[in-house]
């Protein structure tokens, strides 16, 4: 067994577009779920809006990449409003059902052969990163050290991703310490009390849904920047993985979702390298390599259950603050 390679691979996942994309998605969900108490089960839908909004803007409308990214974020604003208007006045679990249903409807629309010319159907969309790579200011060459080595083409989406993530973290941090953020947390703790103070609860919730949704969509853009947009990614499991990340790091914190994303992906890569290696080495004679690959997903589910029951505030959270909305 090659421990060096296993650790190398796991460590390299600390800085990858996947981790950054999930961190952005988790940050956005943190605003929804952690700060405002909104049960958004449509994270996959928001990410798909970002990813496909970006890819379709380039491929179908021929926009430059930065304009495509802005269009994708605006699409997320519209998606948030469509979801929010009917449900934000209703009890929390209605939002959960509507968002998960809307995300699924969106995925089916992306998957159907009826719109294949625009969406690429099951093949997804690819071949749109030319303009993005052409804008790459990084000179050719190898950068980094140890497990973190990238060429200029790999580094460019990572740089953009980190800039977006830093901006989003800054935005969330600034908002959460503002009066606006305090009202939002007040809504999470006791909606009626805040309403009694004369605040427009619906407007606050809608603003939170839009801001969080835009951040999640930014995650979707980063996920697709350098590669492709595939409908198989934006399934409900994606939403549940992001929930696991948010709860792991601390839903009501600013840095928790980012920390959660890093831990989640390092563990995922570690297990995805370790388990098949253990099978190869004959340590787990009752498993096939395929079954060994399944173990990490089973562990995500078990981990999510244990987290919610025993550590609902997450690693960085304060046990006193995080009371789940009833």
């Amino acid at each position: 067994m090659d421990w060096g390679q296993i650790f190398n691979q796991s460590a390299s996942s600390i800085i990858s577009t996947t981790t950054i994309a999930y961190a952005l998605a988790a940050l956005g969900l943190g605003v929804h779920f952690g700060q405002a108490g909104l049960l958004n089960m449509g994270v996959a839908g928001f990410m798909a809006v970002g990813a496909y909004g970006y890819a379709i803007s380039i491929l179908t409308f021929g926009f430059p990449w930065w304009l495509a990214a802005i269009v994708a974020l605006l699409a997320a604003v519209v998606f948030a409003m469509i979801l929010g208007v009917p449900t934000l006045r209703l009890r929390g679990d209605y939002l959960a059902i509507v968002t998960i249903a809307a995300a699924e409807v969106l995925r089916l629309l992306l998957l159907t052969v009826a719109f294949e010319e625009v969406t690429g159907s099951a093949d997804g969309l690819y071949g749109y990163s030319g303009d993005f790579q052409a804008a790459n200011p990084i000179p050719d060459g190898e950068y980094g050290f140890g497990p973190w080595q990238f060429n200029q083409n790999e580094l460019w989406p990572i740089v953009i991703g980190i800039i977006l993530l830093a901006l989003a973290v800054l935005l969330v941090w600034a908002m959460m310490r503002s009066p606006w953020g305090r009202v939002l947390r007040g809504i999470r703790e006791d909606e009626d009390a805040v309403r009694a103070l004369g605040k427009n609860v619906f407007a606050y919730k809608m603003q939170a849904l839009i801001i969080g949704g835009v951040i999640i969509a930014a995650g979707g853009i980063v996920y697709t920047l350098g590669s492709n947009a595939s409908p198989g990614v934006y399934v409900t499991s994606l939403t549940f993985f992001v929930y696991t990340i948010v709860l792991l790091g601390g839903a009501a914190t600013v840095f928790g979702p980012v920390l959660g994303a890093v831990i989640f992906w390092v563990l995922q890569f570690f297990l995805s390298n370790l388990m098949p290696a253990l099978v190869d080495a004959g340590v787990l004679p009752f498993m096939t390599a395929n079954q060994a690959g399944m173990v990490r997903f089973i562990l995500v589910g078990v981990g999510l259950m244990l987290l919610v029951i025993f550590m609902p505030q997450g690693i960085l959270g304060n046990k006193k603050e995080m009371t789940f909305v009833k």
Partner: protein, 437 residues
Amino acid sequence: MRPTTRSGVSAVWRIATMLLLALGLATLLGGGPAVAAEGDPFKIAGNVQNEGEAIEGVSITVDGPGGPQTVETGPRGQWQVSVPESAEYTVVLDVDTLPEGITLDDPEDDTPETKEVTPNVPFAPKAVNFFIGEGDRESTAFASQLVQRLVQGINFGLMLGLASVGLSLVFGTTGISNFAHGEMVTFGAVIALWLGGTAFIGASLWIALPLAVLLSGLLGLAMDAVIWRPLRHRSVGVVQLMIVSIGLSLAIRYIFQYFIGGGTEQLPGSTPQKIDIIGPIRMTKVDIVSMVIAIIVIVAFALWLTYSRLGKATRAISDNPGLASASGIDVDFVVRVVWILASALAGLAGVLYAYYRPGIKWDMGTQVLLLMFAAVTLGGLGTAFGALIGALIIGIIVETSSLFIPADLRFASALAILIIILLVRPQGILGRRERIG
């Protein structure tokens, strides 16, 4: 999604089999039979099939930069050409070379034999889809298609109802939106496969299927004893419970995949033969048996819920847990019974669904979970009879909507209607206003 090739039922989509020309298929299965310019970087490929039957010897012409090339489909119906540029190519299928009685058929395309395609990734064959159907398609009148679809919808709705009733009762008595309910559906099917599948234990279906339902009930008992009851006593909030059920759903789902893999397995005894019932209605024997079982179980369950002491207690707890408890109802016991029943009904629905799809897959329950939620919400959260009505409506919408919209959007139509219903009447059909607070 159920495969669209499910034993030809109706409409355009019944026979319209999609031709998937995945690169893997064409290359793995031995490449195209006639490759004009082997070295050219871009590839266009396809697979000509009708209802899963490969059609050999169909002539296909690809024209564009580099000149026209004509190939014939090979023994597995596959074809592939290499072209020099990433530009627009016209792919024409020669209709005269199709077997007797088979025509090209695409309702959204006036010239179904011609496709325009631009290969854009070197060496990754660009797939071209043709829709092929039997030429006698037009002979089925719209009205009889509608009737046939309605019956299928009722069949699907009854099955969905079996599964949704439990989901609704669990929600009513415990407040849990149980995302693991889909896995309880899959569990019944997987256990039936394990007991009755010829590759496994291979017991007679008369033993395997009832035993699968029984074991499903035990799963409910186990889940209540190990997870839900302790959490109830810790008075964990409903949102936390919901997320616990999501974790449980993920864990169980991947445990299924661990054991049965990612493919589709078949239960013994499913036959594609259809029998004429009345007028345009044609069903398989399994469909009929499944409908009869679903109706009997649902009626028995409704009688139990309405007239038995335990059933009344269940409804009392759904109405007002505190008051029910104060009146001397053993809430813990009733909730345990509800979990067992919900799980057994879900398991039965899973077995029926395995025949309906047809096939058993690790995520089959997850695929209908949202339809169950839609049914429950539509009927009114927490009301058992509402869930039944909701399920029938959802089942009929899913099946009939494929007459009007592409078949792969059937589930989307049901979910879209769920969202619209929430706009108009958020408490559902049988729900009460106060529940939505």
